[in-house]
């Protein structure tokens, strides 16, 4: 046994100093929402000081999942962002999410500039990811892939912004369920055995109003000098529990009620493991009450707003108290559920009736009282809705609003979708309406989805913007801040990046009744064969009474008569 122990210690000893460092952090943010619902956002971050770039072979993995590492090296991926979402984020009720994502699946990837055949690599990559996440990502093909020119910039380091190396696709029809959650959980160093991931029980996560899970991979700086790069893997999971469905209308939430588990330990591999509770709206405890109380507070500027959080550090034994388990409890005291007025939000719908044409309306609301700001609108519309781009109008406050940048790529039937990107300035306190008419294409009969179908989906529009920050709006600050710090709004806080996704659309295309072809074929064949044929005959032919050809004797007689100059018989 001593030899065995020794060998283990030898292996550990070898791995820790010699190999590049990796680090794992986990955290959970809980935000009680105005509506009485509760928003829980998990983040698991693994940073690894290694280099996947330029075909560098990496073979020894510790915290970083090997399956993803291999994908990065094999397909020369610079950045990868994938999200699976079930439900629609209700901006008007819930405010902005920490990580926005559209309903269904979304995938966007920046490839390294060493990749020569980007489309081929993209195709292979989507198929591999489809296997890793048990999702229908293999349905991503050229008909739903676009190359946005401005909306999706790399989030990691690197100056490469040539959008030839970017691919973006959404699958609005994708349904997210347990089968997608399990492989996602397996990527975590502790799996779902320890730490915050213990809470991720699918029967509770899917008994909610909104569920979104994502994986983001990007290169980041190793230190402030940024001489070498590290790779960062962020796994995020956002879920909103419904007051009415999950809490039976009682305005009381606990970890156990939300996840049917309590916490007993941090993930042993994690360097930091924390729970944050957003208590900004509750400085004196008048809105809700949190127990157990914690003395730790943290402040951060999140989405342009200065927020205060109670912090529970799971690496400290004291957090778990005497019962050795942490069951956070939030009890509401007041009950109000007013609509919010988020600075930027958007809606989209299809107008018109009939099955020939229609009109897509996108409404963008700027609720800032005095600041206008530009937004980038990205629309990717499948080819079977033929956009009439000459009917594109952008109006705000009843006036024409000319976009300062338009990038439009027309569709090709069965090959690629329409791509429309626009930079639009939203005036303060206004609604900007973008309308464009379309015609519904007739598909080939094999292109229709199998018999029971809801219709054809059009993916969400993406609106990206730098929104003026609420902190910067606060010009008459009475907070306890030194006066010298508050004259010029400092750059970092003056605006923040927001991405808003609109609803996906459901469009009906003219659909033949597929049970009818047999009848139709029979009927048309009969009509063509019997009716049309003979009617056509009747109409085009002229009928004449034909004399039977005269007999031989008569013919001879006629010749003789002709010679005689007498009229024939």
């Amino acid at each position: 046994p001593s030899l065995y122990l020794g060998s283990i210690s030898f292996i550990i000893g070898l791995s820790s100093p010699g190999n590049p460092k990796d680090d794992f952090q986990e955290e959970l943010v809980i935000r009680p929402l105005h509506s009485g619902d509760i928003y829980a956002s998990f983040q698991f971050r693994t940073v690894w000081e290694t280099d996947f770039m330029r075909g560098n072979k990496v073979s020894h993995y510790r915290l970083f999942p090997k399956s993803l590492g291999q994908v990065i090296s094999k397909f020369s991926v610079r950045e990868l962002h994938i999200s699976f979402t079930q439900g629609y984020w209700r901006t008007m009720q819930w405010g902005q999410p920490f990580q926005p994502s559209p309903p269904g699946a979304e995938l966007w990837v920046w490839f390294q500039d060493s990749v020569t055949d980007v489309d081929g690599t993209w195709k292979e990559l989507t198929n591999v990811l489809s296997g890793i996440f048990c999702a229908s990502l293999n349905f991503i093909d050229s008909t739903n892939t676009v190359q946005p020119s401005a909306s999706f910039k790399p989030l990691g380091i690197g100056n490469e912004t040539d959008h030839r190396f970017l691919r973006y696709a959404t699958l609005p029809r994708e349904i997210v369920c347990t089968e997608n959650l399990t492989p996602w959980k397996k990527l975590l160093p502790c799996g779902s055995k320890a730490g915050l991931a213990v809470l991720l029980k699918s029967e509770k996560l899917f008994h909610s109003s909104f569920h979104s899970q994502a994986v983001h991979i990007r290169p980041v700086c190793q230190d402030w000098q940024c001489k070498t790069t590290s790779w960062e893997l962020r796994q995020t999971l956002n879920v909103v529990f419904d007051l009415h469905n999950s809490a039976q209308g009682k305005r009381e939430w606990s970890l156990f009620k939300m996840f049917s588990r309590t916490l007993t330990e941090a993930c042993p591999l994690a360097s930091s493991s924390k729970i944050y509770i957003d208590i900004t709206d509750n400085p004196q405890g008048e809105q809700f009450e949190v127990s157990p109380a914690t003395p730790l507070l943290s402040q951060a500027v999140v989405l342009g707003d200065r927020r205060t959080f109670s912090v529970y550090d799971l690496t400290q034994q004291i957090t778990f108290g005497t019962v050795r388990s942490l069951n956070l409890l939030i009890r509401w005291k007041s009950s109000e559920g007013d609509m919010l007025r988020p600075l930027l939000h958007a809606e989209r719908y299809v107008a018109g009736y009939g099955l020939q044409t229609g009109e897509i309306h996108t409404l963008m609301y700027n609720n800032h009282p005095y600041r206008s700001f530009p937004v980038l609108l990205l629309d990717s519309v499948p080819w079977y809705l033929r956009l009439y781009i000459h009917t594109l109008t952008v109006t705000s406050k009843g006036k024409d609003n000319k976009p300062s940048y338009i990038h439009y790529q027309p569709s090709k039937d069965r090959l690629r979708p329409h791509l429309l990107e626009m930079l639009v300035q939203l005036p303060p306190n206004s609604v900007t309406e973008v309308t464009v008419q379309f015609e519904r294409a007739l598909l080939k009969w094999t292109e229709y989805t199998p018999d029971p179908n809801h219709g054809f989906y059009v993916g969400s529009s993406v609106i990206s913007s730098l929104v003026p920050s609420i902190v910067a709006m606060d010009t008459n600050s009475t907070r306890e801040r030194p006066l010298f710090s508050s004259f010029f709004p400092c750059k970092e806080e003056s605006s923040y990046f927001v991405r808003v996704y609109t609803e996906p659309l459901l469009v009906n295309l003219p659909t033949p009744d597929f049970s009818m072809p047999y009848n139709v074929i029979c009927l048309t064949c009969t009509v063509v064969a019997v009716g049309y044929g003979s009617l056509y005959n009747l109409l085009t032919r002229s009928f004449q009474i034909e004399e039977p050809s005269p007999g031989l004797a008569k013919r001879i007689a006629n010749i003789i008569r002709k010679m005689r100059g007498v009229p024939p018989l």
Binding site: G87, Y353, H454, L506
Partner: protein, 604 residues
């Protein structure tokens, strides 16, 4: 077809058709009417059945418990309505928010082309309140609508109460896959139209799959009535009616259509006449082209919709609100299960009772038999025009008959009668102000009386037409005109029947005999009388009396006449408000076509 390619046999067939033309026409007409009446005979009709798989096989357990609470909410609503003197917007918003819905209000205003005297409104201003139950984990692509109108007076409070009760119950369920929009609309259809015509602040929640409008004015009811007829005679998919019927059967609620209960004694005379009455009511309502409930405008957007009305009569057996709530719960849960738009069952049908229906394949032959008369007549005229005129005894051809009639003699009546139609369509609205100034009448009366005036003035047309014509009308001339008119009528009625069978059939019933018999050689006074009796306006008048008779609410001639005037004004309003097609169809096409026959009668 070999029959036709052989010139001899063709000649024989044509001569047979021309010789026996009149008897064949009479037989066709009789057969058409008989076929139509046979449609109401139960052995000839099909039983309704659920075609949609997603709604048929799955079982739903209804658990709605809170009928009493819904009634209390209804009473509260009534009190607030009285206090606010209209729609209690703030109260509704607060109540819906308390039930966990996303609540929106929509203001609308509309100026009618002329005052609506039935509903006493002219400048309409109102507010719709709607709360959206967002389905958990659904991407807002599909929605269902449940609406209840907020009507002035004391009616419909229970409907709003039940709507709010259902909202509260539905909100606590996890199984919803489609958003549910709970709508309380003001000013019935005008509010509804503001809600569904897509504008930046209209009711939205993805593409709406189905909608039900609820009307309920008493705490207990004896039966539920289903109203299907929508704008322009459009009907929802038959599966929606089947769904309603299936749940009424399951829960044990008496259900009616056209206010008529279903009877089992189809083989007795009274049983048969009962189903004839039910079917005729449906035909009359469909032919009117107006929406017969608040659901009527949804159908244009390909949204399957119906109205459900609670009826409280003197019967013993009563149903309470909890049961109605369960009925609606069951229906919505099944609609929630839909995987595709309702399209499996029929869109064109007539219902002689709630459990039986007549599909398009069965009722179209009745119309076809009437329409074939026009074609036979056209053939007859064509043959008459094509055969060389008989030589007179001395062998000299009558030169006047040989010369083919000028294009002018056919075109002039066509153009003039259509111009009269245009006048009938435009003048009533144009001249209302002038008429009000000149005569002691209200705007509505002015519009209706102008319409009747223009209509009657059109009867003087033949004399004016002939003044425009250069020469005398020839024998050939009226034949050509009649050929054109008959074919025109055939196409017109055919198209109408395809869109709105009932309207097409009723028009065919009256106009086909006119088209068949009219010539310049029939006795003038008698024929003119028959022609006027069978003109579209008189058809409408008879329909009004017949409809009242069918509803078992007979009226005196005086009342009937007033009703007739209001029906005309409603028809014109329906066109200008909701885009109903009946008024323009009658004014711009049917009436000019009838004028052509009037012209033929007075051909000189």
């Amino acid at each position: 077809m070999g029959l036709l390619s052989d010139p001899n046999r063709r000649r024989a067939l044509i001569s047979l058709l021309t010789r026996l033309n009149s008897p064949i026409c009479v037989v066709c007409y009789m057969a058409g009417v008989a076929w139509f009446m046979g449609l109401a005979f139960e052995p000839f009709t099909l039983r309704t059945y659920m075609s949609e798989n997603a709604m048929g096989s799955t079982m739903v357990e209804e658990r709605f418990p809170a009928g009493e609470r819904a009634l209390t909410t209804g009473r509260e609503f009534s009190a607030h309505k009285k206090k606010a003197g209209g729609m209690p917007v703030d109260w509704l918003v607060k109540t819906m928010q308390a039930r966990g819905l996303e609540v929106f209000t929509q203001r609308f205003s509309r100026k009618l082309p002329f005052p609506d005297e039935n509903k006493e409104r002219y400048m309409v201003k109102g507010t719709n309140v709607y709360g959206i139950l967002r389905a958990p984990r659904a991407p807002r692509t599909e929605a269902l609508v449940l609406s209840a109108p907020c009507t002035p007076g004391d009616s419909n409070n229970q409907a709003v109460g039940l709507l709010l009760g259902l909202a509260q119950y539905f909100r606590n369920q996890i199984y919803w896959a489609k958003d549910i929009i709970f709508l309380v609309n003001e000013h019935d259809l005008i509010g509804m139209q503001a809600c569904i015509t897509f504008s930046p602040d209209s009711c939205r929640g993805g593409s709406i799959q189905a909608a039900l409008s609820l009307e309920l004015s008493s705490d207990v009811i004896t039966s539920m009535d289903l109203v299907l007829e929508g704008l322009n005679g459009q009907l929802p998919n038959l599966d929606l009616a089947n769904l309603f019927y299936a749940f009424c059967q399951k829960i044990g609620v008496l259900c009616t259509i056209q206010g008529k209960l279903q009877r089992n004694d189809w083989d007795s005379v009274s049983g048969y006449s009962h189903s004839v009455q039910t079917m005729m009511l449906m035909v009359m309502k469909q032919a009117s082209g107006r929406p017969w409930g608040d659901h009527g405008l949804f159908l244009r957007y390909h949204i399957e919709a119906a109205s459900i009305k609670g009826i409280n009569s003197f019967r013993q057996y009563k149903t309470d609100v909890t049961t109605i709530g369960r009925l609606l719960e069951g229906m919505y849960r099944k609609l929630n299960n839909l995987l595709e738009r309702l399209h499996q069952s029929y869109f064109f049908y007539l219902m002689p009772s709630l459990s039986h229906f007549v599909s398009i394949g069965y009722y179209m032959p009745a119309f076809g038999l009437l329409a074939v008369i026009l074609l036979l007549r056209a053939l007859d005229l064509w043959v008459q025009l094509a055969t060389p005129p008989p030589r007179t005894e001395d062998g000299i051809t009558d030169k006047e008959q040989v010369s083919s009639p000028g294009v002018l003699s056919v075109l002039t009546p066509l153009v003039i009668s259509h111009l009269t139609g245009v006048a009938l369509y435009t003048l009533p609205i144009q001249f209302q102000e002038m008429a009000v100034e000149q005569f002691p009448v209200s705007e509505t009366e002015a519009v209706v009386l102008t319409a009747i005036g223009v209509y009657t003035a059109g009867l003087a047309l033949p004399h004016n037409t002939h003044r425009l014509l250069s020469g005398e009308g020839t024998e050939q001339g009226w034949r050509v005109l009649k050929l054109v008119a008959v074919l025109y009528l055939a196409v017109l009625l055919g198209c109408t029947a395809l869109i709105n069978f009932s309207l097409g059939f009723i028009l065919a019933l009256t106009l086909v005999p006119v088209a068949a018999f009219v010539t310049p050689h029939v006795p003038k006074v008698l024929s003119a009388f028959i022609l006027v009796i069978l003109s579209p306006a008189c058809t409408l008048l008879f329909s009004v009396f017949f409809f009242q008779e069918l509803q078992e609410l007979p009226v005196s001639f005086q009342e009937g006449w007033l009703l007739y005037l209001s029906v005309i004004s409603q028809g014109i309003l329906d066109h200008f408000l909701y885009g109903s097609l009946v008024y323009p169809l009658i004014a711009l096409l049917v009436y000019p076509c009838w004028l052509l026959f009037w012209n033929i009668l007075f051909w000189k």
